[in-house]
Amino acid sequence: MASASADSRPAGADETARPSGKRRTTGEPAAPQESVAQRPAAAPGPAAPGSISPRPAPQVPTAPKRRAGRSGSLTRLLWTLPPIAVLGLVFLYPLYLVVEQSFHPDEGGTSLAPYREVFASEAFREALWTTVWIAVGATVGCLILGFVLALIIAFVPFPGGKAVAKFIDVFLSFPSFLITLALLFIYGTVGMANGVWTDATGAASGPFDFLTTPWGVLLAEITYFTPFVMRPLLAAFSGLDTAQLEAASSLGARPARIIRQVILPEALPALAAGGSLVLVMCLNEFGIVLFTGAKGVTTLPMLVYSEAILESDYPAACVVAVVNIAISVSLFGLYRVVVARTGRGATSTLSKGASRVGA
């Protein structure tokens, strides 16, 4: 054992002396081979361009830093007040006014009369029903379509897949009513689809005549909102370990089985999050319905608009608005819960990985 330590001692001493001595004499800081050979070690985390901090937080929870100092926490609270005050002035207070006005009929006083009136009207009940079934239908459609398309992009990759994903991002940045405008040209009475039909069969008019019905709105909403489902799904799929799929298929599982047992469980949180978001957005959708321009399709947002702007019946508009807010906000709360659940799951796996690397 004595020789073991004797053997390695000079080597260790050399190591200590050489790099620093060389450095001083040549003035060439780090040995050049280090900068080349150690390149892979240079970026310890995967450095995605555009991401701020590719490295996850260090293993120690960051919570404690927020605990420092009681007076500090008061200061922090004070700093949040200015933006909240702005929000309160331009949004929360106006929202309160809407609720308040819904209890003030034009005749004056405070009563539930506007609610009774609105709830009694056939138009409101129909609008409520139309809104809900279109929203639910569109959500289901988006989920199915979005799942299938995202599945293919992620797991049956093709050369243009990246471009398609990019296109979806661009698609999301356009306003919704453009879809209705486009559908007019495609499925309108003199549009593309009917044109192809009449050209092919020689008939006087084509079979497509659904644009001014709720089905037209449904189609437009499915088209417009499907990318909102695809995006979180693609993100979830990219986190899925392909080794899992390979392992499953090497064990002889067929695609349908892999989808059901491996991919679907992984995608469920994203599906739930995307689905509930789309449901809220469909409930609130206005542009598509407005551009459809059909008297037969009235949704809650449309009713708010027509009561307020066309009829100038503000209390009624406010009542409808309150109902619409109640539905959407509660659904949105649900969405936030879903996202918080899945999000926390995601970060916990992330920090788990980090602590494994770090400690």
Partner: protein, 407 residues
């Protein structure tokens, strides 16, 4: 306040306890959902001393360092830097230098801007900044890279810049949080030497060095504080801890010793029916104890103390062979110089060790350490075989502390 020429100042922990909120963690979980990351921690780092905090992950060592930096607030106790109670001070007023595992260089600043950042923050006169940046970069050998961005540097180079940045503000206290663990093994030993050199050049700076790597701690530290389960387990010079560990945990975590359960007789101990001689018996006769023998001090063949068993596993580690020998149901590790012929599994062998190489520990001191942690260090030791033994030998010579510690 002139922090520029910080007088050498030590660090003192006075019964420091840190508890975290409900978020998960590895420490002991308390009744109200919090868990204690550091429990009544007492430690004094002398001015100019290098103190390593050594322990497995979750032992509280990083928490202790962050309590000095001000990133965690103790629930009780005080932290002093020099004579100053800094417990309630925000981090930016503590006058410390800190280097962390992931470097945390500002990616949007050039190397020189990174190093100058602290000087500007402390309002060092403009004319002085350039000189001090150059000085710090010179000291860490990064002067030629001043105009680069961190992303253009290798891991080792980034770490040098991080050290230069911390040193530029001339702190009295330097905190190093696993500074080498993001580097690969080869680079690590180079940086270790570099850190030792830096400390020789700056003898007044007190260094608190957090690591889970015993080799780093043994190489660099004047003293090592061993932590486990949020508590200080042991503290002493490297030689002291290595040769005369006071707890089972230290014995297994530092250097991965053989720990044999023995019963104490008068003048010797009894292990699995065999009488063994030990140099000093400071445990009550009749009590149970743990006999600690370093694997490299166990040899093949008969000797002063002989153990007989069968070979269970043999690992070839280049210059040495590690033998795992089953002795009466206990596995004894022996590191022997490379054997001409690899012994066959199941072969009967005799092992021996000298009486003065064995240390007797009272039983029941930090037993958890023999579990997975021991396995972990085993793996680490395998990765850098000759290290621990060599390092201890080397530093005993280097520091002139060699001598007869074993007494």
């Amino acid at each position: 306040m002139s922090r520029q020429s910080a007088p050498s100042s030590g660090i003192r922990f006075e019964r420091v306890s840190v508890a975290y909120g409900k978020r998960g963690g590895l420490g002991a979980r308390g009744a109200n959902g919090t868990y204690t990351a550091l429990d009544s921690f007492d430690l004094t780092v002398e001015p100019g001393e290098v103190m390593a905090l050594l322990g497995p992950s979750g032992s509280g060592k990083t928490t202790a360092l962050r309590a000095v930096a001000g990133f965690v607030q103790p629930v009780s106790g005080r932290v002093l830097i020099g004579d100053r109670d800094v417990t309630a001070l925000p981090p930016h007023r503590r006058g410390i230098g800190m280097v962390v595992q992931q470097y945390a260089l500002f990616p949007h600043m050039r190397v020189e801007q990174n190093v100058a950042f602290g000087l500007k923050a402390q309002r060092v006169p403009r004319g002085e900044i350039a000189g001090r940046v150059a000085e710090a970069l010179e000291m860490t050998g990064m002067a030629a890279y001043a105009r680069r961005y961190p992303r253009e540097l290798s891991g080792g180079q980034q770490q040098r810049v991080a050290i230069a940045r911390a040193l530029a503000i001339r702190p009295g206290v330097l905190l190093l949080d696993e500074p080498l663990s993001a580097l690969d093994a080869q680079l690590r030993s180079g940086m270790l030497a570099e850190l030792a050199r830096l400390h020789r050049e700056l003898p007044d700076v007190s260094i608190l060095y957090v690591t889970h790597d015993q080799v780093e701690a043994l190489t660099l530290a004047d003293r090592i504080a061993v932590l486990d389960k949020a508590r200080l387990q042991d503290c002493g010079t490297p030689q002291d801890l290595y040769r005369r560990p006071r707890t089972e945990f230290t014995a297994s975590f530092v250097g991965n010793a053989n720990l044999l359960p023995v019963s104490v007789g008068t003048g010797g101990v009894r292990f699995a029916g065999t009488e063994l001689a030990v140099a000093t018996v400071d445990v009550m006769p009749g009590a149970d104890a743990i006999l600690c023998v370093r694997p490299h001090l166990v040899g093949l063949g008969e000797g002063e103390n002989t153990l007989r068993g069968t070979i269970a596993e043999v690992q070839w580690r280049g210059s040495t062979h590690r033998l795992f020998v089953d002795v009466a149901g206990h596995r004894v590790k022996a590191d022997v110089r490379e054997l001409r012929e690899t012994p066959a599994l199941g072969a009967a062998v005799a092992l021996h060790f000298a009486a003065h190489d064995a240390v007797l520990l009272p039983a029941g001191t930090g037993q958890a350490a023999t579990g997975p942690v021991a396995g972990e260090t085993d793996a680490e030791a395998a990765a850098s075989t000759p290290s621990v033994t060599a390092v201890v030998g080397a530093i005993s010579v280097a520091k002139g502390a060699g001598g007869d510690i074993d007494g």
